[in-house]
């Protein structure tokens, strides 16, 4: 069971088991009297939806083992889909029960029970807000940190009201041990949220870093050079990323993921290369040397497997950063693998690490191919976008043992991954890292 697909299937089976746990528990005697098929189905929808919502906190728990096995971005993509499914199950729960027995509308009627109706309406509105703010964050112009803060509050509210709803209805959990299990699972879910939003930040604050240098790169990018303050630094694998925060408060909403761009050989001097793309990243240039910085991580599975003797890196813009970490690490290790870098950028002026790559090409068996969207006058190399024809010109015909690493803007990744799949590259040899899931 070593392939990525096998790992996904095994992981999904465990997830399914936990999602079905409420139904299994509800079937254990003593059971309340059975009602009609549709009522039992509708009630079951609600229980499974609540289980899925509880599991959402596990998916975002940033567990190193899971992150290393499948990649944190894969977990977050799964979390996103699971959130949509859970919301639809809640909708199904309401619709099935209301259609089958309109008297259940009393649950949402404030004239019958104002508190209960208010709580359930808040739950439905919170759920809707989670979906709208997550799926439409960019279109709405909501800053990432504010989305992240509201997401946690809304999710915790939904879980809390959902659990109280189960207790208040009480049909299936009037027995103490059932109450203990449901209450316990809800506490675990909230504890996981606290683990990520409070526990991990506290741990990060106990291992601060100092900004040693802020280096200007091409393409409106800046490299933060960080040195550990009172500890041994960061042990990471080349290609991984960390969550960065400047705020000393553990409750700060400012925390953003960035790839490490330095070699693993220097844990006492780690570098993050950050492109100015939004409010937070545009402020990096103003960071003063000596400032305290907090890192959480490392995370990510965008790493070079030992068995990969030949690798092709396809980078777009700032997507070069994790690849740079891999190349610098290999260079320090005097690695002799056969490597190719296809690097798509706007122009030489906006090409991060343009001046560093020739040095790496000199120490490694590395072929660097620049693809400029707006090439300078007299440029005879590749221009435009990465296309199938371009890949055909530069990738070896026999690519059975080639590992591909793709990192860049989402549209580029969608296009390149599809091209590679069309060339027959299987999931196990196609490594990618996506940052803009929300």
């Amino acid at each position: 069971m070593r392939t990525v697909f096998a790992r996904l299937i095994r992981w999904a089976a465990v997830y399914l088991l936990f999602a079905l746990l409420p139904l299994i528990l509800l079937l254990i005697p003593p059971r309340p009297p059975a009602r009609t098929f549709l009522i039992e189905y509708g009630v079951g929808l609600g229980f499974v939806a609540l289980a899925l919502m509880g599991l959402q906190f596990v998916l975002t728990g940033r567990f190193r083992g899971v992150a290393a096995s499948l990649g944190l971005d894969t977990m977050l993509q799964f979390h996103r889909e699971a959130g949509i499914v859970a919301s639809l199950l809640v909708l199904g729960h309401v619709i099935v029960l209301l259609l089958h027995r309109p008297a259940y509308a009393a649950f949402l009627d404030p004239r019958v029970d104002a508190m209960r109706a208010l709580a359930l309406w808040i739950l439905l509105v919170c759920l809707l807000l989670i979906l709208v703010l997550t799926l439409g964050r960019r279109r709405l112009g909501l800053p990432y940190e504010w989305w992240r803060a509201t997401h946690a509050v809304l999710a915790a509210t939904v879980l809390f009201i959902g659990t109280v709803h189960v207790f208040r209805v009480g049909w299936y959990i009037s027995i103490p041990w059932r109450q203990a299990i449901w209450g316990g699972l809800s506490v675990v879910a909230i504890a996981l949220l606290m683990h990520v939003r409070v526990g991990k930040p506290i741990r990060a604050r106990s291992r601060p870093y100092r900004v040693a240098d802020v280096r200007a790169e091409r393409g409106r990018a800046w490299t933060l050079v960080l040195e550990p303050a009172g500890h041994h630094g960061l042990r990471f694998e080349a290609g991984q990323f960390v969550w960065l925060s400047f705020e000393p408060s553990v409750l700060s909403i400012q925390q953003h993921p960035f790839s490490l761009s330095s070699s693993v050989a220097a844990p006492e001097r780690v570098e993050l290369t950050i492109k100015e793309l939004g409010d937070f990243t545009s402020g990096i240039r103003n960071t003063q040397p000596g400032a305290a910085v907090f890192l959480e991580g490392p995370y990510g599975a965008f790493t070079l497997p030992a068995e990969a003797r030949r690798a092709v890196f396809i980078a777009g813009g700032v997507g070069i950063t994790p690849i740079m970490s891999i190349l610098r690490t290999l260079s320090e290790q005097n690695d002799d693998r056969d490597l190719t870098l296809l690097y798509a950028t706007g122009s030489p002026d906006s090409t991060i690490f343009l001046d560093d790559l020739p040095t790496l090409a000199g120490t490694l068996r590395l072929r660097v191919l620049h693809v400029f969207e707006r090439p300078p006058e007299g440029w005879t190399g590749e221009r435009g976008m990465i296309t199938e024809e371009l890949l055909g010109r530069h990738l070896p015909a026999d690519d059975r043992d080639l590992h591909y690493f793709v990192c860049g803007p989402a549209p580029m990744m969608d296009a390149v991954e599809l091209m590679l799949a069309q060339r027959g590259v299987p999931m196990d040899r196609l490594h990618s890292e996506r940052f803009d899931i929300v």
């Binding site: 990525v4 697909f5 996904l8 299937i9 999904a12 997830y15 399914l16 999602a19 079905l20 139904l23 509800l26 079937l27 059971r31 059975a34 009602r35 009609t36 098929f37 549709l38 039992e40 189905y41 079951g44 929808l45 499974v48 990649g71 971005d73 894969t74 993509q77 799964f78 889909e81 699971a82 499914v85 639809l88 199950l89 991954e417 599809l418 799949a421 069309q422 027959g424 590259v425 299987p426 999931m427 196609l430 990618s432 996506r434």
Partner: protein
Amino acid sequence: MSRLPLLQHVAVRRLMWLIAVVLLVCLAIFAGVRIAQP
């Protein structure tokens, strides 16, 4: 059906929706078992 190798992010999405279908089927079994019980 596409014969292209599956991409990981596509596989993840499909897997969740497959799980959703399995859950709906299991819910039907659950409801069936419940009403069959005395």
